[in-house]
Symmetry: C2
């Protein structure tokens, strides 16, 4: 279907926005009137620019406070409308959004509103434009799309139809199934927005917190499926008022926005029959585990020492590059010193094991994930790779059940023995605050991970927001941490799973590893909080182990010191515990600040 | 009264926070348990540090989910409590906050809760500690301070009293007057927090958006007056959960916090009789107008040229410094090139005319406003001065009705003629986002300005939040603008009032001034929005004038181009118009981005 986006979603001038939308690949835009009024481009120039960029101008928005008014006011409103219709003719846009009256309506009557919209339709006829009437969630009398449709039905004018906005419908909890009763050709326009579940007044929620589809709590695929079943064939258009998107790089946000529609069209299309006009995405299965994790730095020795202390085996040097491989069970850590001048140790790449790398890569390309063009250490086995919004490179290896074939490219390693560490449990990535929503959409749409509920953790430098992206079976878990605005140097980490964290910790201690030290006060509190035997608490304390228990089971884990921008964690999940030790995160953050 | 603050209000480690509180001048702190648990200082070390710093440990907080439970759970809760009482003995803190049960209460009975608190009181007796029971706004059964007091009354135990928290009471709209019915010695503790008027769930409101007294919408002076009339003599303590304060500089936030209590004690004290123990502030009247505005730069020529074009008169050079004075009516602009190497033009200082500069300065000192120690251009007439949170220097001149005496220090100026510009209308200061709340408190508490309601303006780089600080009569108006997080280079400006903005604009145009250009689209929209004669619209367009009308009157204004970080505005207020042209701000921001 055709894609469109309201200029109000983006930062910059109207001209900046138009260029960014065209570059991203949108078919059209909704012209938000204040953007036009503030522009130094005349309507004719905007029209010409749109032509040159190959963008259609799909909607002029909005016209407000028209219906349900006294006769005097109606005449004034018709004069206002006529000025805007003339402007639309100059712009070459044929549909105007008319929002249900918030401010000036005094007559609560479907018949009166319908008659007034019919008058507007007659005027629209003279200018060859169409009226898309929309129920705002906070409209004075009309705040439900079903009532807006009833009024449009009563108006019975070829120039008058409805505009459906997912936010106004889903935020109120109105059943979207009744959309299917509206003839598709009377749905003049469709505006899509997601939103997080928030308990606040709907106006503020709408004006500041909307999100692109796939980033919030609304079931937008289900919503769109209803609209498609109604027979709607117009553009899928985004109207997302969001404080962050208003200020982030317009080119990047436009691509991010289009990705959400590409994902949504596919997701909704899978729910409806008989709509062969819908674009589909390659259907890739979710990853089955980690292929490898890569730490990159000019000098990775600090990390290498820690891996040895944790019982990892040195698997050799790459045949052709300054890259080394360590492994323990199915956990593989690549230490990359290639082209890393002046770089401190950091998580540069995550390799995921998927059924069919080519299909996942094809899906990523359609979803506009930027491809990675470095020559990988796996030069003999070329891996598909693309870049996540935070800059982490994501490689796709083939899930074979055994060791990946690229391991053979490493030579001169030690004998592989048994290891107490079995695999990568999770990879924690720090996100710049402005890129967080984009990252959530990236991991869901490109890789098929699910977003669980988010948490917030109090650290000494502010609240850290955390959102876990994962496969349902937990084989891949990627907690995304958003550092407080203004800070950017939060470390990332890799957590390794094991069956006996006490043994791993003891061995690491004997090998001289520097643990992240845990304060005694923590253990005093632990004893008061949980009914743990003194001996267990003493053992936890001795080994700087952290402990958390939920309704399922227990989580015992420890952290290494930070090397550069990265640290390591070893975790033991007991009896189906499925979390990440959130209650211990403030302890870790405070200890890291002291270190 | 004694002052205290919960460590949860501040950023950093517990030790950082204790040092900052002592440095700011607090008498004590509330120890927030998670801060202690995450600390590498033992309870005995924290106690010793507090002693050395001269801080009392006023409250241990919080203990949760105690009352209204089954017998089994009660025994477990008493064991938990005993561990915490023992910890309190080690810390040397004698009062514990017990929050009303949110999670585990199953018995909705005042009698049961009272009996259970009595058990807790008996245990507290053994450890020589006191229980301050508080109704959380979202408590399962107890969510009203009056019910908490009824339960405490029923418990009838010398170790059991109430804790009052202004947020929990005022957020629910509960009448604080009934506090006066509680005996003062049964109010074991008082926690103060302000908050903005927000329509959202009370838990999120409480956890993220509390403010220091004087910064929000609550009537905290009235609230505290009730508590004082009840006879409360304990500490005034702040408990302010705020995402921003959690991450801003701890030393600065601690001073900011203490300022709010100093202000509040005085403000509440003026409402009660017979409390001679309260500290009072010097009572200064609000400013009567602007003494001067100072633009500072290595080279101020661009601003000087604009002042000439606006009809200002050159009043001479300072006798001893590289400083020049220009005036028009009562508007005086000082151009300061002293010690300004590499500085671009910016608003460095604002001089205000007050009745009694010495008293206002004394008030500012008690409220910890940092004094300014530069040798002013008014060296012969020493002016009191201090620094606002954003770094702007605020000078205090004596309101005489005529020209300030320091004007005589400028020599070699031109003849003063009549001027179409009459005075400074407002000075718009850009605020770093993290300092905004501190700035609001500064201007209200130190200078006696009032905070009106805030607005938000959409600019091409994000939403700009604006809050006007002003005297009731409008003689001093200081709009504070908060730029979107991550941007910092928003310009500040001075607006001059006149009676005929068309004449000023015409004269400036003839003098060759570069106006901020306003797009034609703006005037097309203006014609559609207001019923203005074509001739008027043409004149506005010709002169790049902006227009806004409200229910009172009209506002006509124009902007100059920006020089460095500063631009100028000329405004005409017609028929009692009292705003700032907010609808035109997006036009200005877009035009400034193009420039």
């Amino acid at each position: 279907m055709r894609t469109s986006v309201a200029t109000v979603c983006l930062s910059g001038s109207l001209v900046d926005k138009m260029h960014a939308c065209a570059d991203a690949g949108f078919d059209g835009i909704e012209v938000f009137e204040p953007d036009l009024v503030a522009s130094d481009h005349s309507p004719e120039e905007v029209r010409a620019l749109a032509d040159r960029l190959g963008l259609t101008l799909d909607l002029f928005q909005p016209f407000r406070d028209f219906e349900g008014v006294t006769d005097d006011l109606l005449e004034a409103n018709l004069r206002r409308a006529e000025a805007k219709f003339a402007l639309m003719n100059r712009l070459g846009v044929d549909t105007v959004l008319v929002c249900s009256n918030v401010a000036t309506a005094t007559i609560d009557s479907d018949e009166v509103s319908a008659a007034q919209l019919r008058r507007l339709g007659d005027l629209a006829d003279q200018y060859d434009v169409r009226i898309a009437f929309e129920a705002l969630a906070w409209g004075r009398f009309v705040d439900d799309y079903r009532r807006a449709w009833r009024i449009v039905e009563l108006a019975d004018h070829p120039r008058v139809g409805v505009c459906l906005d997912s936010f106004h419908i889903l935020s109120r909890g109105h059943d979207p199934a009744e959309i299917e009763k509206i003839p598709g050709d009377k749905i003049f326009f469709l505006q899509l927005a997601d939103a997080p579940a928030l308990s606040m007044d709907v106006l503020s929620w709408s004006r500041h917190h909307r999100l692109f589809p796939g980033e919030g709590s609304f079931d937008l695929a289900g919503f769109l499926a209803h609209v498609l079943r109604a027979g709607y064939t117009g553009p899928l258009s985004l109207e997302v008022f969001n404080d962050t998107f208003r200020q982030t790089d317009v080119t990047r946000t436009a691509r991010h926005a289009l990705r959400s529609l590409v994902w949504l069209e596919d997701a909704a299309g899978r729910l409806v029959e008989g709509r062969a006009d819908l674009d589909r995405l390659p259907l890739a299965s979710a990853p089955q585990g980690y292929d490898f994790v890569e730490v990159k730095a000019e000098d990775t020795a600090d990390v290498e020492v820690m891996l040895g202390q944790l019982g990892f085996t040195f698997r050799g040097r790459h045949r052709t590059k300054p890259v080394r491989l360590w492994s323990a069970g199915d956990a593989r850590v690549v230490l990359n010193e290639q082209q890393a001048r002046d770089q401190r140790p950091h998580l540069a790449a995550v390799g995921l094991a998927v059924d069919d790398p080519a299909t996942t890569a094809a899906r990523a390309r359609v979803l506009m994930a930027p491809p990675v063009h470095r020559r990988t250490y796996a030069s003999e086995v070329p891996l598909e790779a693309f870049t996540a919004p935070d800059g982490t490179e994501v490689f796709l290896g083939e899930a074979t059940g055994g060791e990946p074939v690229w391991v053979d490219e490493f030579e001169g390693g030690d004998e592989v023995g048994t290891s107490p560490v079995s695999r990568v449990d999770h990879v924690n990535l720090a996100q710049p605050w402005a890129d967080f929503d984009e990252a959530v959409l990236f991991y869901t749409s490109v890789l098929g991970l699910d977003a669980g509920s988010g948490t917030e953790v109090a650290g000494p430098r502010g609240l850290v927001r955390s959102q876990v992206m994962r496969t349902p079976d937990g084989s891949v878990r990627i907690p995304l941490n958003v550092a407080p605005s203004g800070t950017s140097d939060y470390a990332q980490h890799v957590a390794f799973a094991c069956d006996d964290v006490v043994a791993v910790a003891r061995r690491a201690r004997e090998a001289g590893m520097a643990f992240l030290p845990v304060p005694r006060n923590y253990y005093d509190d632990l004893a008061a909080r949980y009914d743990l035997p003194d001996r267990d608490v003493a053992e936890l304390r001795e080994l700087d182990l952290l402990y958390e228990r939920d309704e399922h089971g227990a989580f015992v884990h420890f952290y290494t010191r930070t090397a550069g921008q990265v640290f390591l964690e070893v975790v033991e999940r007991r009896d189906g515990y499925d979390g990440y030790g959130a209650t211990n995160a403030p302890i870790r953050l405070a200890a890291q600040q002291r270190a």
